[in-house]
Subunit: 276 residues, 2 copies
């Protein structure tokens, strides 16, 4: 099986590139300015989970950055071919604005570059995790909020705050003190029977799994609230969990001194999503 | 003369790379997350202007991102060798955190990658320019403010707002409405005889030329104030100019309907800086 090995396969604009070999020129705007977007997709039993949602968010990101649209069917085929032979893996697709001359100004007719990597993924979905608060904050800027762009230094600095392998994630506040997300995940809290998650209008990413969870909550009749959450709200929540496309949904069982059992609504959501 | 051609020369970790050829692998963290910093340096009559200041800011940026320090003498030699044969040019040095596995977490022992390009630069320093206000705002985040990191989507989106070649720069406000800078320049306004420039504690870059201008103002006895500036302060200023390492100091002669003659203090500063 392909995914029994440690190899990573890389394609640039659909063409294979040897692992570790140079893939993009010095003039690539993704490298120079983080000028692009990405998607991280989970391959489960040989199929890209939620591919349509990933492509839809990608399209939204391209539009927000005023980058040309990419043919969705062609992209779906390209991803499909790249993951052939893999059972359980992670596919990461970066789309940069392509090459440009020096300076922030994008070329009027830019030619985006696609960098697709497929790599093995350890299992682990559904297991409870311990998390911490990060001190690195997220800046607020509606122009960049929601999309999965390549400007990720805030997340890098937050993730660099701890080395303890027992802590799976760090929770982040924005500069005004509102709870936003984990460094690479969306956050959900069950408070007084309502599933609460921060909106992503000022910072944070509109996660593909976040969308699935909100839809699943509605299907099982769990009331949902998208809006501001304070640190105290999270710490006193009845249930707490994180989500992203790779880890799916993970119950938080410990946050600093606070512990939670696996909660009833979290279990119901895990069950509902697995049943799809 | 090298700089009579249109060629760009590129070096990765000191080794030459053919123009346009792949230079960094898909796993480079600069490409994936904008995880790194850069310096844009002006080569004047064969020498890198303010090299020590550029290297000092680079060192500060590396420290702020918890990246390992780079030997300053070795780096100065590397840049010096790359610009040999050039008279007037621009050298851009990107330092990324190097390669990493998937995920925001930086490797404990990262091995930074240096990407250095040298390209021709058209002359033009000192000429008056017309500018506009941008609608794209800068988010506030002290953890990233001041350094010249690779997360530059705000500047890209701002610079994409206009195509008119007669407009040389766009002025940016932050999300709270304070004036910060041009898309690729620092901003100075002379107001009631005082040279005013925004601080860069919440957003913006601490420009190498900005530092030189503040020092020059002190030498010629021009009072300086570093602090908040509102849009109305800028529009009613007695003199207005922008600066960066490449264009040096440029008087603003037009901002929307407002025009200025070349101002007396601006001229004095241009003279003082040229005299160094």
């Amino acid at each position: 099986m392909s995914d029994a090995s440690d190899r990573t396969t890389t394609y640039v604009n659909g063409e294979p590139v040897a692992d570790g070999a140079p893939a993009v020129p010095a003039s690539d705007r993704g490298l120079n300015y983080g000028d692009g977007i990405f998607e991280t997709m989970c391959i489960v039993r040989g199929r890209v989970r939620y591919l349509a949602d990933h492509l839809a968010r990608l399209r939204l990101g391209l539009a927000r950055l005023h980058m040309p649209a990419i043919d969705q069917d062609g992209l779906a085929l390209e991803v499909g071919r790249a993951v052939e032979g893999w059972q359980n893996a992670v596919a990461k697709l970066i789309v940069t604005r392509g090459d440009g001359p020096r300076g922030y100004r994008p070329a009027v007719a830019s030619s985006p570059r696609r960098i697709l990597t497929v790599a093995p993924q350890p299992p682990g979905a559904g297991q409870g995790i311990a998390v911490r608060w990060c001190t690195t904050r997220l800046g607020r800027n509606p122009v960049l909020a929601g999309i999965k762009h390549l400007n990720r230094l805030e997340q890098v600095l937050a993730r660099a705050e701890w080395q303890d392998p027992d802590l799976a994630e760090g929770l982040m506040l924005d500069t005004e003190g509102s709870v936003v997300c984990g460094t690479s995940s969306n956050l959900f809290a069950v408070i007084d029977g309502v599933l609460c998650t921060p909106d992503v209008a000022l910072c944070g990413v509109a996660g593909v799994m976040r969308k699935q969870i909100i839809a699943a909550a509605r299907r099982i009749g769990l009331e949902t609230s998208i809006g501001p959450l304070a640190r105290a709200d999270v710490e006193s929540a009845d249930e707490l969990f994180l989500s992203n496309a790779v880890m799916a949904l993970r119950p938080v069982t410990r946050l600093g001194p606070i512990t939670w059992p696996h909660g009833e609504r979290t279990r119901a959501l895990v069950h509902e999503i697995a049943a799809e």
